[in-house]
């Protein structure tokens, strides 16, 4: 079968990609345009067929890729399809850079593609039930299909600009879906926040693209990889001057800004930092993580698909894709690792105290993304990417499980906010057994129960964080060390490991807290009060006399019940993957060659063998001892949570909160980072914006716009007078035009171009219809010849310091003549400036040189 596949779709014209990409796009178009008219059943069928077919095609492509990589051993194989040639731009020294709409599937994008279409299909299936009663059913699936299409463009695009198209596409879909219930102002605001935070990251990505185009002269993966060595060079000129900017000179009053020695970084560092900015935006890392928790305002399937499983991992995908650029700069690698570790820890502290089920999962996602960054930052690209893979399953499962819980809660309390509140849940395992068991499976994976997928992927990252260290490329080591370039300190590995273990402990705690409070204990959702009633009661101003002192109202209605099959089937499948997918890449020498590592080997082979990732001496033997940290984190976190929430029934938790009220409040309010940004960055931008607005209002609108628009209006009005409908006037205008054109030909225009080499001046008169020329080249004031001839060129020689006037006379076909004087001078060269060779240029240049009318 694979043979037939290879014949049908040769690797260099792999048109099956068109099906993978085209189906979701088709689904988006049909659901977007005709969805309302088609009805919900047709929309459901279309959306599921689109992603389903796409998934099957992706599976076939994966098979084809597997066959191909077996055929060409140890090679980095790609299945390529060039849709069309997009454009050509030019790089350094105007070397052309072709940018094609070309898609390629290699080991890395192949796995990612399967995750996106596979998990995407399950979430689509889930959403057909979850969103069933929503008015915007068709709109929802149009956006969701469009998201899958954009995500696939991002993954499969063979060059940076195409990746950027997908990058922006998923950003747009994310914006649309976060604000899906746009009638509520805070949802729309959350969408806007996500969009803006991502714009900052996109700026970085664009800068990186420009730098890569300049230094590497190529924008596709292969081209960048081949020319990545241009990014590091021991030459002074190849360094990027950070200060003074661009390597300039500050003189005059600004001279105090001039540093003693310029501060430079390698181009690889500049590119890496710009890419990193892009990745922190998309993958919600410090400092741009703030949008992701708010993004949970969107429907839960969106949170599962976009803000947990796929889109937010695009940053890690990009780091893996561009790994050959990142490893060239130890500074950038260290930054990636540190940002990842810091985010993992920081987000975990916030997740400890949140009461909204989706908020906990949101911060958990930020924290897990931090783990992935930590992995790729220490050069463990396979481990980082494997965590992307496992996280896609367990986090999607957790979000969908949460969605199932919310669905059930909402059916009971009919209140959007309260049905997500942990304090209203409890004991749900009785009512929703399938949701409970799948949620438990995914929780086991994320907290790192030994043997589950999350354990293996997280453990590998922690292990590599301890033992790996980024270094300069061996070829450049000496040079760059002489330049006092950055070196990661030796204590960094253990510190990163420690931070990782702390974050993992917190993860185990808050996930168990979430699990226990949702599924164990007594169900707290029988009595409900609206938030305003709760607040009113707290202030002792209860207005509703009917309910007496009891502000909480018992709501009649059914007990929470299990969700229908389209919601539970994806849960079961995802939970199974969460638990068992770890065996695709387990550590501890369980397999001689773990499948995932083997599969991704060709992608990272060159990077791993380049000598930029050093391993601590004896580090290979530390795998078992270091696993103690991960297992310990699991044990400590889980048992503390069990003790607090089951054994002691929340009493210790309340006691701690009461003992440190301010700390608790600060963590509950997410360390007030949003407020900090509000007060600093946003305030600064606001004041800048107000200044600009004032300038715009008074100067641009007030003076410039009024004057120019008045001119335009006046001219337009004047010209309209001529357009008065009288045919004589029209004819007269034609006559004026005819006369003007005639006049141009009747009057001769003598023009000349002067070129000089070493005192020999060549003057060429401009050609014209019927022109004859007469010269006075010897400067005696009389024409050299009596008659006009075709001789259009004269040569004059001048010695240094001499000058002369050459006169050109032109006679046209009608016998009219006109003259023009060309003064030549050749100044003595000033020895210091060495400008002698430019002397002749001072003479008037013929207009033909410029060519304007």
């Amino acid at each position: 079968m694979t043979n037939a596949l290879m014949t049908l779709f040769p690797p260099d014209a792999f048109t099956l990609v068109a099906v993978i990409l085209g189906m979701p796009l088709l689904g988006a178009l049909i659901n977007g345009i005709w969805g309302k008219r088609l009805g919900n059943n047709a929309v459901r069928l279309m959306a599921l067929t689109a992603i389903g077919v796409s998934f099957v095609a992706a599976l076939l492509s994966f098979l084809a890729l597997d066959t191909l990589s077996h055929a060409r051993k140890d090679e980095h194989v790609r299945l390529v399809w060039t849709a069309w040639e997009w454009m050509t731009t030019s790089g350094k020294d105007s070397a052309p850079i072709g940018i094609d709409v070309r898609f390629s599937i290699d080991a890395l994008s192949g796995v990612m593609m399967l995750v996106v279409t596979g998990v995407g299909f399950l979430i689509h299936l889930y959403a057909t039930s979850y969103m069933e009663h929503d008015e915007g059913f068709a709109r929802f699936f149009a956006y969701l299909n469009l998201f899958v299409f954009s995500m696939l463009v991002l993954i499969l695009g063979d060059n940076l600009p195409l990746l950027f198209v997908g990058w922006e596409g998923v950003g747009l879909c994310s914006y649309l879906l976060i604000g899906f219930w746009y009638q509520k102002a805070e949802n729309a605001a959350a969408g806007k926040k996500a969009f803006l935070a991502n714009r900052i990251g996109d700026f970085g990505l664009i800068c990186a693209m420009f730098l890569i185009a300049y230094y590497c002269g190529s924008l596709d993966w292969k081209g960048i990889a081949d020319h990545a060595s241009n990014l590091v060079s021991s030459h002074e000129a190849a360094q990027v001057h950070v200060w003074p900017l661009g390597g300039g000179q500050y003189t005059g009053v600004l001279s105090f800004l001039q540093p003693k020695s310029p501060f430079t970084i390698t181009a690889a560092t500049a590119v890496g930092l710009a890419l990193l900015l892009g990745c922190t935006g998309k993958s919600a890392q410090i400092p741009l993580y703030v949008w992701l928790p708010d993004a949970m305002a969107g429907p839960t399937p969106v949170s599962a698909l976009i803000h947990a499983a796929t889109m937010v991992t695009a940053g890690i995908y990009l780091v893996c894709r561009m790994s050959f650029v990142f490893v060239l700069s130890p500074f950038v690698m260290t930054m990636v690792a540190c940002i990842g570790a810091a985010t993992a820890l920081f987000a975990a502290t916030i997740a400890l105290v949140q009461n909204d089920i989706k908020k906990v999962l949101a911060y958990s996602t930020v924290s897990q993304l931090g783990f992935m960054f930590l992995g790729v930052g220490v050069g463990a690209f396979t481990a980082g990417f494997f965590h992307v893979f496992t996280h896609a399953f367990f986090k999607a499962c957790l979000f969908l499980g949460a969605g199932s819980v919310i669905h059930a809660m909402h059916a009971r309390i009919h209140d959007g906010d309260l049905s997500q509140d942990l304090r209203k849940m409890g004991g749900l395992r009785k009512y929703m057994p399938l949701t409970h068991w799948t949620f438990l499976g995914a929780t086991a994976a994320i907290i790192g129960l030994p043997g589950t997928s999350g354990f293996f992927s997280k453990d590998e990252i922690l292990f590599k964080a301890f033992i790996n260290r980024s270094e300069y490329h061996p070829a450049l080591k000496g040079t760059l060390e002489r330049l006092h370039a950055f070196q990661p300190p030796t204590w960094l590995g253990p510190v990163l490991y420690g931070v990782g273990v702390a974050a993992a402990t917190m993860t185990a705690f808050y996930m168990c807290r979430l699990y226990f409070r949702t599924f164990w204990g007594e169900f707290n959702g029988w009595k409900v009060g609206t938030p305003s009633e709760v607040a009113a009661q707290e202030h002792g101003e209860h207005g509703h006399k009917d309910h007496g002192n009891d502000h909480l109202q018992i709501v009649a209605g059914p007990a929470p019940k299990e969700s229908p099959w389209p919601m539970t089937v994806p849960l079961v499948i995802l939970a199974a993957f969460s638990v068992f997918a770890g065996f695709l890449n387990p550590g501890f020498h369980i397999f001689a060659l773990p499948p995932m590592e083997h599969w991704l080997e060709p992608v990272f082979k060159d990077v791993m063998e380049s000598g930029t990732i050093a391993v601590r001496a004896g580090g290979e033997h530390l795998e078992f001892p270091l696993a103690a940290g991960g297992v310990g984190a699991f044990l400590v976190g889980t048992s503390v949570a069990y003790w607090m929430y089951i054994a002691q029934k929340r009493k210790p938790a309340d006691a701690i909160a009461a003992a440190f009220p301010r700390l608790h409040r600060l963590m509950l309010e997410k360390w007030r980072i949003d407020e900090l940004y509000e007060a600093t960055v946003l305030a600064a931008v606001d004041s800048l914006a107000e200044t600009a607005a004032a300038f715009d209002q008074w100067i641009v609108d007030g003076i410039l716009a009024k004057v120019s628009s008045a001119v335009v209006v006046a001219l337009g009005a004047a010209l309209r007078v001529l357009q008065n409908g009288v045919v004589h006037v029209y004819a007269a205008m034609m006559v004026v035009g005819l006369t003007s054109i005639g006049w141009f030909f009747v009057v001769p225009h003598p023009e000349a171009v002067v070129t000089e080499t070493a005192g020999d001046y060549v003057i060429v008169a401009g050609p014209g219809m019927g022109y004859g020329y007469r010269w006075d080249a010897d400067g005696n004031g009389r024409p050299d010849t009596e008659t006009f001839s075709d001789q259009a060129t004269v040569r004059v020689h001048l010695d240094l310091g001499k000058s002369q006037v050459v006169r050109l006379e032109v006679k046209n076909a009608f016998g009219f003549t006109a003259g023009r004087e060309i003064s030549l001078s050749r100044p003595k060269p000033e020895p210091t400036l060495e400008l002698g060779s430019l002397g002749g240029q001072i003479a008037p240049m013929g207009r033909q040189n410029g060519g304007q009318n």
Binding site: W84, E85, V712, Y730, M734, V736, F744, P748, P750, G850
Partner: protein, 491 residues
């Protein structure tokens, strides 16, 4: 036989036009006329496309009709382009004429024969065939303009068009006569040979160039020979306006490129001191500036589109000027621009027709107010066409302008390019205004509300143009390669 094959676009169109005329005379149903004409035009275009792929160089004996008809890739490109423009006009007519009770079959016969004339213009290598083709094309256009006999505006516009057109034709013919007198040739290649041999010094030749230039710029409706355009465009039924804006203009540019590059392609005639490029550059600057300034003051969308077509003639002239230094690149950019302009303008007119119905036409900007909300499917393509005309990506208009401006910059015409660029900024104002009215305004209380008409023909025209506007805007390179292959080289 190879000759018949090479002439097949003419034969298909000619016989098709005769059939349509007979069907009109003897048939009882009128409904199929638009469809019939469209089929004939597409068949012609496809024949030309087939010839393009087969390769004219594989056909022997084409010199039998030369120099009267030159069967080269330039001709084939224009045959496809003109058929596309005419087909879009015919489809628009298929909805417009019945709706406005103008459904008389001779419109389609006129349209087909005028297209025949335009194709002949693009193919001709001799002044006589050129003039014949030009008049065949123009007479059809005059008659189509006057098609709404009961309307004084239409008659007035058509009469002005006819009077001034005849005036220009006379000037052109006088130029031809002088050129023949000075060179003894009517074929363009022969003229070129004699001019290169030294006849270019003859004052009669210079005079003839002046007269011919006036005739040419009149046909492309450049300032100051444009005054007839708004009146004729506004008075004519919209399909006829489409035809004038698209087919007649493309035919006129074909004629201009043929005459200027083939007959006046020598160094003297192409010179910057006294030749045709500086004249056209001056006219281009004048045309763009005046047209954009006045277009911004219009209240009628149709009249705005008339000025827009004048402004686009200005941008095209920039490309023609650039052929002086980069004939292949600039020539190709002009051809690509014509294609982009054809689909955008024909689409805009078709979408405008679609927006209104009898008694509730969309004439002014006010009539478009709020249509984006009420009839999104009608408004969206119009928005795309307006963006394309303004030259905003991802539409074809962007790449069309980009290629022309790039050709001009690479030939060193910096000032000209800057003027053209500033003008396209100025032009964006009145195109974007269409979008503003459609999506951000509501009609005034009590104002007549436009109701979209229902016509499969017009919808087909809109969809066809919209698809081309987007596809060519996203993937222009293949089409550009075709244009490069079709570009004329001087002399």
């Amino acid at each position: 036989m190879p000759l018949a094959l090479a002439l097949s676009p003419f034969l298909v169109l000619g016989f098709g036009a005769l059939l349509i005329m007979l069907a009109e005379a003897f048939g009882s149903r009128r409904g199929g006329m638009a469809l019939g004409s469209t089929i004939v035009l597409f068949a012609t275009g496809l024949t030309a496309a087939g010839l393009w792929m087969y390769g004219l160089e594989n056909l022997k004996g084409l010199e039998a009709v030369a120099p009267w008809l030159l069967l080269d890739r330039f001709t084939l490109f224009f045959q496809m382009l003109l058929c596309l423009g005419s087909a879009l006009a015919a489809l628009t007519a298929g909805g417009y004429l019945p709706e406005h009770e103008l459904d008389r079959g001779e419109f389609y016969a006129l349209l087909l024969f005028a297209t025949f004339g335009a194709m002949m213009v693009s193919a001709s290598g001799d002044l006589l065939t050129l003039f014949l083709g030009l008049e065949t094309m123009s007479l059809g256009a005059y008659a189509m303009t006057a098609f709404r006999k009961a309307s004084p505006r239409a008659t007035e516009g058509a009469l002005k068009y006819f009077l001034l057109g005849s005036f220009a034709a006379a000037i052109l013919l006088y130029g031809f006569a002088l050129l023949y007198g000075a060179t003894g040739h009517t074929d363009l290649a022969g003229i070129s040979k004699v001019l290169r041999a030294g006849a270019v010094k003859d004052p009669m030749v210079v005079t003839s160039l002046v007269l011919i230039l006036v005739g040419l710029v009149f046909k492309v409706s450049a300032v100051p020979f444009h005054a007839w355009t708004p009146d004729a465009y506004e008075g004519a039924p919209t399909p006829a306006t489409t035809y004038m804006a698209v087919v007649v203009k493309a035919g006129a540019f074909a004629m201009m490129l043929r005459i200027l590059l083939t007959a006046f392609g020598d160094a003297q005639s192409m010179s910057w001191s006294a030749g045709w490029p500086p004249v056209l550059a001056g006219i281009a600057v004048l045309t763009m500036t005046v047209a954009n300034l006045v277009a911004g003051r219009q209240e009628s969308v149709k009249r705005m589109l008339a000025y827009s077509s004048i402004a686009h003639a200005g941008y095209l002239l920039v490309g023609v000027v650039a052929t002086m230094r980069a004939p292949q690149q600039a020539g190709a950019s002009v051809l690509f621009y014509l294609l982009g302009y054809t689909v955008s303008t024909a689409g805009a007119f078709a979408a405008l027709v679609l927006c209104g119905s009898r008694g509730r036409e969309t004439v002014s900007y006010e009539d478009l107010a709020g249509i984006g909300r009420r009839h999104p499917a009608v408004a969206l393509p119009l928005a795309f066409f307006a963006l394309s005309l303004a030259g905003i990506p991802p539409t074809v208009g962007f790449f069309a302008k980009w290629f022309v401006f790039r050709a001009a910059v690479e030939s060193g015409f910096y000032v000209l390019t800057i003027v053209a660029f500033l003008n396209s900024v100025l032009g964006a104002y009145y195109y974007i205004r269409v979008l503003v009215y459609m999506y951000m305004r509501e009609p005034a209380v009590g104002a007549p509300v436009a109701v979209p008409m229902r016509s499969g023909y017009v919808v087909a025209a809109v969809i066809l143009s919209a698809v081309m506007v987007i596809v060519l805007g996203v993937a222009p390179s293949d089409t550009l390669d075709v244009a490069v292959a079709a570009a004329l080289s001087p002399g």
